[in-house]
């Protein structure tokens, strides 16, 4: 009987209860979920919390954090000037040679102690689950014992995904877990000979209750508002969103402020001064309250492997307005019927007009979202699928 036998190592590059980052949050929740089901789970990660500075902020070594064994290893960051140039060329769509790709990969943060821990102790683990695919930790460490390496892939249609360097990772791991059909389709386009894989979805915690009024009161928010949650950075479409909202507001004064929670600088552009409220990092309850209080949740990112935040919005009965450039989010919106997508600023403007002009219709549209999440993406369902794949792809000790 192989069920739940053997240790599962989950290997995110960052780990902690205050990390802002979809993949890291999901892996943390998955770790606790698997542990609760009887698996021997251990986290292998770094002492860093910030994925820009990669500063070593925590103590290395084995600690138990909220009942979870966590082994932390120090980051070595010797970012070379060349890395920035190579990164620019990758994003510009240049073809890099293999050696250039390798220099790019090794030119940033690295975690040699983690690498050697896995080199020494791979046999102690039944499976090692890595995320996300483009990080050095995943790239370097998943190839030490590929027969045990499972990827929580987080694949986006982005230039990195097409680098030759990642092909063996996609094709040679024990298995790849995908969060959506479009993510799987993308993987098959990039690597038709992709390793064993399965769409397992992504778990979302279902809040027991919401307190939207309390949220407004505690943060002094009056009137209608749009919500953005997550990392405030260019890669997530944040800057683009602010510029679009500024332009739209210049044409028509919409009755919305923008409330944002998460990490990163807000930097509102001209025209948005006083219209952006940063509530910072919120705990889970307050985050859920924010979703319930909002008129709509904005998802401006093109690079989403799943988008947990839109699920959290739908669970709270809040409509979603999302960048249609993300196939995954468009797929969710179309399947659930609970979200609108835009492909340019004018479409975003019309989405906001709809929201402003017909709030009851918008709320009615959003109503199907909660059922969509409950039918597909509760942790119970997702963990069932994850466990089935771990048992299928890896050998019990």
């Amino acid at each position: 009987m192989s069920a739940r036998a053997g240790r599962i190592g989950l290997v995110p590059a960052r780990y902690g209860d205050r990390i802002v980052g979809g993949a890291e949050i999901v892996l943390r929740q998955m770790a606790f979920g698997l542990q609760a089901r009887g698996w021997d789970v251990e986290i292998l990660t770094t002492t860093a919390l910030d994925h820009h500075s990669w500063a070593n902020e925590l103590e290395p070594g084995l600690h138990v954090e909220d009942g979870m064994p966590v082994r932390r290893f120090p980051v070595v960051d010797t970012t070379t000037p060349e890395r920035g140039e190579l990164e620019r060329r990758i994003l510009a769509g240049d073809t890099l040679t293999i050696t250039e790709q390798q220099r790019w990969m090794n030119g940033g943060m690295r975690v040699p102690e983690l690498y050697h821990h896995i080199l020494d102790h791979a046999d102690d683990y039944r499976a090692l689950v890595f995320t996300p695919y483009p990080f050095w930790v995943t790239f370097a460490c998943s190839q030490i014992a590929p027969e045990k390496s499972v990827l929580w892939t987080c694949l986006h249609d982005e230039p990195y995904a097409y680098l030759d360097l990642f092909r063996p990772v996609f094709t040679g791991s024990a298995g790849l877990l995908f969060q959506s059909g479009p993510e799987q389709d993308l993987a098959l386009r990039i690597a038709p000979d992709v390793a064993p894989h399965e769409v397992v979805g992504c778990g979302v915690e279902v809040p027991e209750r919401y307190d939207p009024d309390g949220f407004r009161e505690r943060y002094g928010i009056e009137g209608r508002f749009l919500l953005y949650a997550g990392r405030r950075e260019g890669a997530k479409g944040w800057d683009e969103l602010l510029e679009a909202l500024a332009a739209i507001n210049a044409r028509r004064d919409l009755p919305f402020t923008l409330v944002t929670m998460g990490a990163g600088e807000v930097r509102p552009p001209r025209g948005m001064e006083g219209k952006v409220v940063d509530v910072g990092f919120l705990d889970d309850d307050e985050r859920d309250n924010a979703f319930a209080a909002a008129d709509a949740y904005l998802q401006p990112s093109r690079y989403e492997a799943f988008s947990r935040t839109i699920m959290e919005a739908w669970l709270a009965g809040t409509p979603v307005i999302a960048n249609g450039g993300s196939e995954v989010v468009r797929w969710h919106c179309e399947r659930s019927g609970a979200g609108l997508t835009y492909d340019d600023e004018l479409e975003l403007e019309q989405c906001l007009h709809f929201l402003a002009d017909a709030p009851q219709e918008a709320a009615a549209m959003a109503a199907s979202g909660r059922g969509y999440v409950l039918e597909n993406y509760t942790w119970e369902l997702v963990l069932d699928r994850v466990e089935a794949q771990l048992e299928a792809w890896t050998e019990a000790p």
């Binding site: 030119g107 790239f139 190839q143 590929p146 038709p192």
Partner: protein, 456 residues
């Protein structure tokens, strides 16, 4: 024991890096405290630019805290490419300082130029002084050991032979069927595999030429990446791709190959073909051995010794033998060109002649047979390329059998000069085939334009 290993290291994909990683894992499993220093950023604990005398001196500052220094040695890690005798002397002297400061030094020699230890030049004296600092030199064969001792004046007792694959472990768990499915290889294919960094001295073009004409289900896959983007290496990769296009069943996959993917290809294969022009010893041979796949390899460098006593390795001396070995392994006869019978005499002599030409073209594997066999074009192409095709391959003269001074001298001369002569021979044969193809293509294009051409 605290050990510092100096080596290229993963995730850099490199044969020596992979070898080193497995050595590190084995040493650490024995309880040693091993740290790694690599020439560039990697999963190693430290990295240092080791090229030039500064590299050696910088290394000297690092070695004292360890009980033993282990160096995975390739000259390019330390000596500028190219380097003058003066530069070589400087680098050797600097490395000698590092080696002298280390309590104990072991060097695994993956490649070296013995000429640099011979003679009375300052560079040679510095090289010999450097190697005298080394407590243990590890090589992979007896001939390497003998040559090393002779060239660098190291006491024979310090030079050890270690099995190349001593610390190797499989990196893929796939079985043959699974490996094939994942690589898109037909289950019933007879798969010949040439794998490794794509460099002219690896001779993958020879494998393609040897394979030319083998019928399905045989297929040849050349797999690897260009290690250094030198123009001649990039051009060679392109040449291989062009060459494979003209050979049915031949495929070239230029791209990043991880350790796992490397092993998966070997598992998927029926035989590994190593048509090297020159090599020291072969990690691929060891991996094929580890994964229980037969090997066809050229008798160069120390491959003969490396393969001694290994079941399933067939060594060949030239292209003709390589082709024979490949074809015998395929257990194949050339596919009949057509199921149709020969033309009858009533069809006329020209019809029979056309069939002869077409079938011969087919045997050659399509080099001049890409056009319709019975078309006028096929005959024209055959006609145009005939003078070139009549030129036979060049081979180094066989020293012949027998005992005595003369046969021995011939064998010695051949051994001593082969490293210089074989590339010239290969290049001549390559040039001949390329010329045939070029003329064939030009003739074909001429025909397609419908331009009349005179026959002599």
């Amino acid at each position: 024991m605290r050990i510092l290993m100096v080596t290229p290291y993963p995730p850099l994909r490199d044969g020596i890096a992979s070898y080193a990683q497995q050595s590190v894992a084995a040493l650490r499993a024995q309880g040693h405290d091993v740290e790694v220093l690599s020439p560039g950023p990697s999963a190693a604990h430290h990295h240092l630019d080791l090229v030039g005398p500064r590299g050696g001196l910088a290394l000297a500052k690092r070695v004292r805290g360890y009980d033993k220094l282990v160096v995975q040695f390739h000259p390019d890690f330390f000596y500028p490419v190219p380097s003058s005798p003066t530069q070589r002397a400087e680098v050797s002297a600097a490395l000698a300082v590092a080696f002298r400061l280390a309590p104990r030094v072991e060097v695994v020699v993956h490649e070296i130029d013995y000429r640099h230890g011979r003679g009375a030049s300052p560079a040679a004296r510095a090289a010999r002084a450097l190697w005298r600092q080394v407590d243990v030199v590890q090589v992979h064969s007896e001939s390497e050991r003998q040559r090393f001792v002779e060239a660098f004046g190291v006491p024979a007792g310090r030079v050890q032979i270690v099995e190349h694959g001593a610390a190797f472990v499989p990196r893929s768990r796939a079985d043959r069927a699974g490996a094939r499915a994942s690589l898109g290889i037909e289950a019933d294919a007879r798969l010949f595999l040439s794998i490794g960094f794509i460099q002219p001295h690896k001779g993958y073009d020879r494998a393609i030429d040897a394979f030319r004409g083998l019928p399905a289900p045989a297929r040849l896959d050349v797999v690897g990446s260009v290690r250094v983007e030198e123009p001649q290496f990039v051009a060679y990769a392109q040449e291989l791709e062009d060459r494979a296009q003209a050979v049915r069943g031949a495929h070239v996959h230029v791209g990043y190959v991880s350790d796992e993917l490397f092993d998966r290809w070997i598992i998927a294969s029926d035989v590994v073909v190593l048509p090297y022009r020159e090599i020291w010893s072969s990690g691929v041979l060891e991996r094929a051995r580890l994964l229980n796949r037969p090997v066809i390899a050229t008798r160069v460098g120390a491959l003969e010794e490396q393969a001694a006593g290994v079941e399933g390795v067939r060594l060949v001396d030239d292209d003709a033998q390589l082709r024979q070995a490949v074809w015998e392994f395929a257990q194949a006869e050339a596919e009949p060109f057509t199921a149709a019978p020969w033309p009858s005499a009533a069809a006329g002599r020209d019809a029979i002649q056309a069939e002869v030409v077409a079938r011969a073209a087919q045997r050659r594997g399509g080099a001049v047979g890409a056009v319709s066999a019975h078309s006028a074009s096929a005959q024209d192409v055959a006609f145009a390329t005939a003078p070139l095709r009549r030129v036979r391959d060049v081979h180094l003269p066989d020293p012949g059998p027998g005992r005595g001074v003369r046969p021995f001298a011939r064998r010695v001369v051949r051994k001593l000069t082969a490293w210089q002569m074989q590339p010239v021979v290969d290049q001549l044969n390559t040039l001949t085939r390329a010329t045939v193809e070029s003329v064939a293509r030009a003739t074909d294009a001429h025909e397609e334009r419908g331009e009349p051409r005179e026959r002599g």
